[in-house]
């Protein structure tokens, strides 16, 4: 699954560590999600969406 997390984070001038603190996850998890190596659970995806004030489908995209 692809996502725009890196772009959205950059728009806020946040580091991965800042975003990780906001989401209460590790920096490694933020990095893995940004690189598309780890797909977040629905609760975490909703948390990310709430944080950026966007619907989930504006952040995460299906590969196919």
């Amino acid at each position: 699954m692809k996502n725009r997390l890196k772009v959205l984070r950059a728009e806020q001038n946040w580091t991965q560590a800042n975003l990780a603190t906001e989401l209460e996850v590790s920096r490694q998890t933020v990095n893995a999600i940004e690189k598309g190596k780890f797909d977040p659970s629905l609760p975490l995806a909703f948390k990310i969406a709430r944080l950026f004030g966007l619907p989930i489908e504006k952040i995460f995209f299906d590969d196919q």
């Binding site: 560590a17 603190t21 209460e24 893995a32 780890f38």
Partner: protein, 135 residues
């Protein structure tokens, strides 16, 4: 050092507790076996005492690990659970092989071999978990 009260600080504290409890458990087992080996004639009371200590520290270590995993984030938890599964599998394969070799009287299994299995499982678990550092 992570800021107090953040996820990173809690994760570090829980991980350190898990490492220290594992070391304490391993040390208690090593000291217990050394104590039994050095005792001229270990009394039943001493053996029960050693078993109770091992059980107590072991249960505490398991609870510390469960607490750590429950409070880890979903990716970290997934990696460590996969690492545990791999360790468990490797341990069974090695143990099965050792039992076959022992039955065929090619090797003999004593407490040192069993002790090595503990070390193997610890190293396997830690190695698997180091995948978290890749990110």
């Amino acid at each position: 050092m992570p800021k107090p009260g953040t996820y990173a600080a809690r994760e570090l504290k829980n991980a350190l507790w898990a490492v220290f409890s594992s070391l304490a458990w391993g040390l208690s087992i090593a000291l217990s076996i050394a104590g039994l080996a050095n005792a001229q004639e270990p009394t039943l009371f001493f053996v029960i005492f050693v078993l109770v200590i091992n059980f107590g520290i072991g249960v505490a270590a398991v609870m510390v690990h469960v607490h750590w995993l429950k409070n880890s984030d979903e990716m970290i938890r997934k990696i460590w659970i996969e690492s545990m599964a791999m360790t468990f599998g490797v341990l069974w394969i090695v143990l099965g092989s050792l039992l076959i070799l022992a039955k065929a009287e090619i090797i003999s299994i004593d407490h040192k071999v069993v002790g090595l299995l503990f070390v193997l499982s610890g190293v396997g678990f830690a190695t698997g978990g180091f995948r978290t550092l890749r990110y």
